[in-house]
């Protein structure tokens, strides 16, 4: 049985061990190893940039393709109407306007015909020029009936 008296030397000897241990230090070799491990750990936790190389590659491919093929073609605009048409006057209705307005599908056709034909539509014709051709645009209905005419010269 241990009495308090018998434990007194134990306290003293434990104190001696505590004092002796004060000179014991952790090996210095651990310092660098742990510092390196810390740096590695936090380097791994940085945001991943794995998507950067594929993105750069895709951008390079797109740039080279654009340079080789040239700029994207612009949309083709309809060709401008002939100057003569631009200068032409208004259409002369050959049928009542209400009917022309109700026609579902009309077509404008450039044509040329004898000037004498104008007399049939009630237009004045000089006898000296009756044999000359006339350039005109005809507005036809879907079934081919002449609805209006515009003289081009």
């Amino acid at each position: 049985m241990n009495t308090p008296e018998s434990l007194e030397p134990l306290d003293q000897r434990l104190a001696e061990l505590r004092a002796a241990l004060q000179s014991v230090k952790a090996p210095a070799a651990l310092d660098d190893a742990l510092a390196a491990r810390f740096r590695r750990q936090h380097a791994m936790r940085r945001p991943a940039l794995w998507w950067m190389p594929p993105l750069a590659l895709a951008a390079a491919v797109a740039l080279v393709t654009w340079m080789v093929r040239g700029p994207m073609p612009r949309p083709v605009l309809p060709e401008a109407l002939p100057t003569a048409a631009a200068d032409a006057g208004p259409f002369l209705a050959l049928k009542p306007l209400e009917r022309i307005a109700l026609e579902p599908g009309t077509t404008v056709v450039a044509t040329e015909f004898p000037r004498a034909l104008l007399a049939d539509w009630g237009l004045p014709v000089s006898p000296e020029r009756a044999g000359e051709p006339v350039r005109a645009e005809m507005l036809y209905s879907a079934d081919g009936e002449a609805l209006a005419v515009r003289l081009l010269n």
Partner: protein, 195 residues
Amino acid sequence: MPMPPHDPHAEQALLGRLKSGDEAAFDTLYRRHKDAVYRFALLYCGAGAAADVTQDSFMHLITHPGQYDPARGTVAAWLCGIARNLARRHLGLREVATDPADLDDTLPHEAHIDTETPLDRVLRNESADEVRRAIAALAPHYRDVLVLCELSELSYAEAAQVCGIEIGTVRSRLSRARAQLAQTLAPRPRAKEAM
């Protein structure tokens, strides 16, 4: 060999900076606690494994700083608990029962006594070395509380936290550990005197 004094708030601030990758914060915590952790490991599992246990303990600090719960104790006690678990794993010990009455107190665990260690070379004091050897021969559950309370100077509450036992169990184990140690260290009658 007391655990270093600490300001809990300052240590928590250091841990917060450590989590965000502040190497200076890690360095401060490491330098503050490394020797105490190493001494604990040295007493617990000997010089052959003490460095590894110390390194692995701080690796754990680096990789799992979020596991520290300030409500459960100090950083020093937490590190000691990590070192203890690692040392026990190193020694191949399984967790022992919490009731000392269930344990065999009579057989010293001589397997962990070193024959020649760096500590032997440091401790020129023969008496201190004899005490260390006697502690190494204690059963692990007694060695735990004796090293934590007597040599690392943790409070009973901190030792209880480290070992995962009740404070009352710490007290009873410490009492029995001291008694066993005193018995081991008691002068033995020489053979001539005995005859």
